[in-house]
Amino acid sequence: MSAGLDNLKHIVVLMMENRSFDHMLGSLKQKYPKINGLTGNESNPDTNGAIVRVQPNAQFQSQLDPDPDHHFPGVDLQIFGGAPIGPGRVANMQGFVKDYFSQTKDVNRSHNIMYYFTPDKLPVLTTLATEYAVFNGWFSSIPGPTICNRAFAHYGTSFGQVGMDIFYILDTSIASIYERMIQAGHTAKIYYYDQPSSTMEIVNLLKNQPQIFGTLDQFIADCAGNTLAEYSFIEPCYNDHPGADGGQILASDQHPDHNVREGERFIANVYNAIRTNPTLWQNTVLLVVYDEHGGIYDHVVPPACTPDGKTASADATGTGEPFAFDRLGIRVPAVLVSPWIPRGTVVPGTEDPANAQIFEHASIPATVTNFFLKGDAKRTAREQQAKTFLGLLSDQMRQDDDCVVFNNLQ
């Protein structure tokens, strides 16, 4: 066991919304060749057959309206390029532009799905990715939308669902990671932004309120007061709404078409809350990860995974074919932060088959359960096989002046 792991007392996960790895971090490959991002030659055909290359033209807002399709049939088209359903079809990541055209009905606008950010536009996420650890192979758990993917982060399964239903309310076969922790005498909390934004994990809101839930203000206070739970899951603000004092609260989840820069500021706030408490900083690890790709281009074919014994029907998937939860969704940004992680750590993914470490959202409850509960919980086969991420903590803690802080008060 590393010294970093010996010192670990808190795991914090911040889950953002609907952006792909290449869209947010793909440009880093130019300066950091080990990061499996974009060469600039990746492309998709549009509906006229023209080749559309990736371009560094992503803007903070207004380019991805309407919201790109990220429900199961749409993601299937994105991954398989429109090849007919059936055995032997090959994933080629060639259907993103075609799928976005089905929404925009505008060929030129459908090209926006290939746009990516340059690092100067995302100083927070790209700094964390290069100052700490970035995962080349962290995938969403399902090639589908938000709710089922977030379920994997809470339960290690979506209970056989591939959509947005509040599906597992009556299924008590697998406890959430928060219930597991609390039943074992540990502490765990979901911090949502505020009540007008609330949570997407409504099942736990029903079953365990108020013990499991807090607000972002409470997270900030818990960090400052050394009262942070052993495991914390943070939700960004999901909508624009008036503040209690009459001000303007902006959505910070980065879900299209919400402003990406506001999400950057939110990530910086969460990081600073941990970073500026010297005690907490030394014994906490922060994972920043996105729930799914939001329909936005990524060049890496999602790999196979351990099934969890569930099957979604052909009707449920909407593709005419059932889904056995035997392959992952599209790749998302994921960054692990701790002073115990060497600068510039790049965790290899599918680009390096001999050393690949494949992660998905079931890796979150798997890591928390293994570390705090020594694996003692009823879990799906999927979660039991999920790769855990605390092995990235080293024996050497970086000095205080070697770890950045963000100034987001400008």
Partner: protein
């Protein structure tokens, strides 16, 4: 030596738009909140009886979610318990 400080620019003030049409995620969240109210509170409040199609904008959804969360999460804002 102090740590390196990274500046994070302000968000464009024009980004705020509570009248933006609510997307599928927010619509789903509101539906889930309504389901939660029906199943667990046994209080058929006006929140349950609302016409969900009337929630058209982000401001509409946030106002609805705010009221529902206040009912469901009665201790929001209290200090964390260790």
């Amino acid at each position: 030596m102090p740590p390196k400080v990274i500046a994070v620019p302000k968000t464009d003030p024009g980004a705020y738009n509570p009248n933006r049409p609510a997307g599928t995620l927010l619509q789903a969240q509101a539906l889930h909140m309504r389901e939660a109210l029906i199943r667990h509170l046994h209080e058929l409040t006006t929140l349950v009886n609302i016409d969900m199609k009337s929630l058209k904008t982000e401001a509409d959804v946030s106002a609805y979610v705010h009221k529902a969360t206040a009912l469901l999460h009665t201790q929001a804002g209290r200090p964390a318990k260790k």
